[in-house]
């Protein structure tokens, strides 16, 4: 899951995939501002066909957090 999220984020932020780690965050990635955060949320919703709740979006502090939220959401949708 992390790899899929990382590829989506790298495309959006226009940075090489290998520069993004699970610790990457808006504080460490120049292009990751408020707009790009929302765009990332929208891109994930479209890619995985779910709708994220505000409390889930709030948990997305780092790319690792994003992947964990998406993983949990995908599992919840499946079950």
């Amino acid at each position: 899951m992390f790899e899929q999220v990382r590829r989506i984020a790298a495309d959006l932020f226009a940075v090489p995939t290998e520069r993004l780690t699970s610790e990457s965050s808006p504080e460490t990635v120049e292009a990751w501002d408020s707009n790009q955060h929302l765009t990332l949320v929208l891109a994930l919703e479209e890619r995985f066909a779910f709708q994220l709740y505000p409390e889930e979006i709030e948990q997305m502090h780092t790319l690792g957090d994003v992947a964990r939220v998406v993983e949990a959401k995908v599992q919840a949708v499946k079950s």
Partner: protein, 372 residues
């Protein structure tokens, strides 16, 4: 504790002041949310569909974001009166601390759950953060025209700081003012525009203290002729332009004793880009499109009488744009954007094609307190 977005109450006021202090530390004095939880402009009162509502994003007692909704009604032919809201004044801690980058998106989404028919207006241009975010959310955006009339060309050439951006430009504008050539050029261009205006019958305009029943008749007569217009009955107009607000001049425009429309004009607050010029604005206006010229002429005359140096206006409808052009107005670069949420845009389809038929003025959105 998760971030909770809730109505702004008196108990939040100290936390909002702290929030403002953190934002202002970033160096922009405009980054301030309302100190008072009760709106000074358009507070909620019984029986009025037009009111402001403030909301705050609270994280363990600390305010991390805030925004406002101006609730109102619009009329759309074939659909009738519907409730919408203007999303305005969004401020997020993400501006100064990127670890709060999610707040901006959370607030727009929260607003959409409260009122799916949302719009935003103004915003300063497509390159600003808010329009970019709204575009990402699938909102429909259109740039609305900005027009201006130079009343005193020499003052304009010497004080229009927004155009005096290089030494060459400043020299040319100073030379135009000193030699009188600038004055001649402006007057010649305005005469050419005015020559295209048809001669209308005897039109009179009277200053009125407040709007009354005659404005209701005008609202009902003309509303079907616009693809969309915000409610402008007399009750709403009295809320927007109360008798006690002497900053605005309310004009009742008649042709041969028959009401044809109205306008609200006023002098804008000082703005660095206009230097020391006195800038008047045609804030709001209403008439059937075929009577727009009569009202535009009356509003322009009134501001010229008040001796402003420059008159500005934003009018979305093509008939109003043409009417102002015939009064000697030029089109200027616009950063005035109308953005409609997906649900709202669905009611306005085809959006791009219809946008020239919307009735949107400087008075829509949150423009009144910001500019006057």
């Amino acid at each position: 504790m998760p971030i909770v977005i809730e109505p702004y109450r008196e108990e939040h006021e100290p936390a909002v002041q702290e929030f403002n202090r953190r934002l202002q530390a970033a160096g922009d004095p405009d980054l301030v949310f309302y100190k008072s939880s009760r709106p000074k402009w358009l507070p909620q009162i019984e029986a009025s569909p037009v009111y402001n509502e403030y909301l705050v994003a609270v994280d363990s007692g600390v305010v991390r974001g805030a925004y406002a909704l101006k609730h109102e009604q619009v009329f759309i032919p074939g659909k009738g009166s519907i409730s919408v809201a203007c999303y305005h004044h969004p401020l997020s801690e993400g501006i100064v601390d990127r670890s709060y980058a999610s707040i901006g998106g959370l607030m727009v989404r929260d607003a959409l759950t409260r009122q799916p028919l949302l719009y935003s207006l103004g915003m300063g241009g497509y390159d600003r953060p808010l329009p970019k975010m709204l575009k990402a959310l699938g909102w429909s955006l259109v740039q609305l025209p900005f027009v201006f009339k130079i009343v005193h060309p020499n003052r304009f050439l010497r004080d229009m700081h927004a155009l005096r951006t290089s030494p060459l430009r400043r020299s040319l504008m100073d030379a135009g003012a000193a030699t009188g050539l600038g004055w001649l050029a402006v007057r010649a261009a305005q005469s050419a525009l005015r020559a295209r205006a048809p001669r209308s019958g005897p039109v009179t305009s009277d200053r009125v203290a407040e709007f009354a029943g005659w404005a209701d008749a005008l609202w009902l007569q003309a509303r079907e002729q616009y693809r969309m217009s915000a409610l402008r009955d007399s009750e709403t107009l009295r809320r927007l332009y109360p008798r006690t607000d002497d900053h605005f001049t309310r004009l009742r425009v008649r042709r041969r004793a028959t009401d044809v429309g109205w306008a609200v004009v006023g002098e804008r607050r000082k703005d660095a880009k206009y230097g020391s010029m006195r800038v008047g604005s045609i804030v709001d206006s209403w008439a059937s499109p075929e009577n727009a010229l009569d009202v535009a002429q009356a509003a322009t005359r009134e501001l010229e009488t008040q001796s402003v140096d420059l008159i500005v206006s934003n009018q979305s409808h093509t008939a109003w744009g043409h009417a102002l052009e015939r009064c000697g107005f030029f089109n200027g670069p616009s950063n005035f954007i109308f953005a409609a949420s997906k649900k709202y845009a669905e009611t306005l389809q085809p959006f791009a094609e219809n946008s020239g038929g919307f009735h949107i003025t400087r008075a829509d959105g949150d423009g009144l307190p910001r500019n006057f």
